[in-house]
Symmetry: C2
Subunit: 219 residues, 2 copies
């Protein structure tokens, strides 16, 4: 457990702005997963490289649901709940919350979309679009991105509604005064998700800040 003192928050902000990840574990009895988290405004191809080699899960872009709405995106669960066929596939996962996926995209400038530098480009462009003062964001999004692509966009429902990594890191961004614009991937072990103690050990060995959902909830 870590107390999110002003000093610690400032350390987290400094690390993220410098392209250094933090590790965020959700909750015992929920997913019980630790995610590696980068600030999208500082993403480079080597961050993607580290996410796929050291974390190993799905590399996702995270923003708020307001920002997603600004570019015309809805939750896929909402989109497909009224779909004549796909509505049959909308169920709650075993850990209880609906997923936060909206869409998978590539920026038009990328080659195939999957390499470290292609995914970094797509994410950097998403970050610029969602944090800059673009007048018609939806129109810009439609002109400069295509779907389906290789970067899933997750949108936060807010911690009152869902307690997933998407909501935790969006809240963390607010706490440190950065835009809700983050990149996450689950830390995996051999066969199973990485256990909490192994994720803590990884953080400590690599000099990374390790946080838990309960720390963020209390802050």
């Amino acid at each position: 457990m870590a107390d999110l003192t002003p000093e610690l928050l400032s350390g987290i902000r400094g690390d993220l702005l410098n392209g250094v990840p933090v590790i965020v574990y959700d909750f015992d009895k929920r997913e019980e997963e630790a995610d590696m988290v980068f600030y999208a405004g500082a993403i480079t191809w080597s961050s993607i490289n580290r996410l796929r080699k050291d974390a190993g899960g799905l590399i996702c872009y995270v923003t708020g649901s307001e920002e997603a709405r600004d570019i015309g995106l809805r939750f896929l669960t909402d989109e497909w709940k009224t779909h004549p066929v796909y509505n049959g596939l909308i169920k709650r996962p075993s850990y209880g919350d609906y997923p936060s996926f909206t869409m998978w995209v590539n920026h038009v400038s990328v080659s195939t979309g999957i390499s470290d530098s292609d995914r970094a480009s797509t994410i950097r462009e998403l970050h610029n679009l969602l944090t800059d003062h673009v007048i018609n964001k939806e129109e810009y999004f439609h002109r400069n991105f295509y779907a389906p692509g290789h970067v899933p966009i997750l949108a936060s429902r807010g911690l009152e509604q869902r307690r997933g990594h998407t909501e935790l890191v969006s809240r963390l961004a607010e706490l440190i005064g950065l835009p809700r614009s983050m990149v996450i991937a689950e830390m995996l072990g051999e066969g199973k998700s990485m256990k909490k103690d192994a994720a803590e050990r990884y953080a400590s060995e690599n000099n990374l800040i390790f946080l838990e959902g309960k720390d963020i909830l209390r802050a």
Copy 2:
């Protein structure tokens, strides 16, 4: 270049049935990417582990478009072309072909869906559903899977229409007399996709069969 002789085809079949991957490079001047390919009927958590560590790209399940239709799935490009908002996002990637994505799913039995063993379970269940004599496949699919999840399902448009890895490995399955039910991920290098010669070297060092799109087209 490899001639797909009966002996080589039988070697490929034997490897895939034994859970050994083959490497398939598409074409010069197209994606110029090599994919690691497993047969879904022989997938285990350690295959997923190898796909994420040695290949590094998106781990996708591949089937034919007829099989996808049997479970009620359409190409997302078709699905979204008539969507009032998302139609703006449907574009051809720089290499020319529309993507072959249909949907991202998890099997209901998984925990969070992303670990090696969870993704192996989802893929094994997809394989069983699509290759067994299930009476109402769409109904079974809706009862036993949920979306959005962590395993993208790619459907082949046939090599006459598209020359991607999806179509190449579906055709390869037909050539060796296996169901169109494969698992693929792009092989990545540092920053960029792995170059053809590096993928060939990986195959040779690991005693894996290396094929090119043109070998499959000529067979």
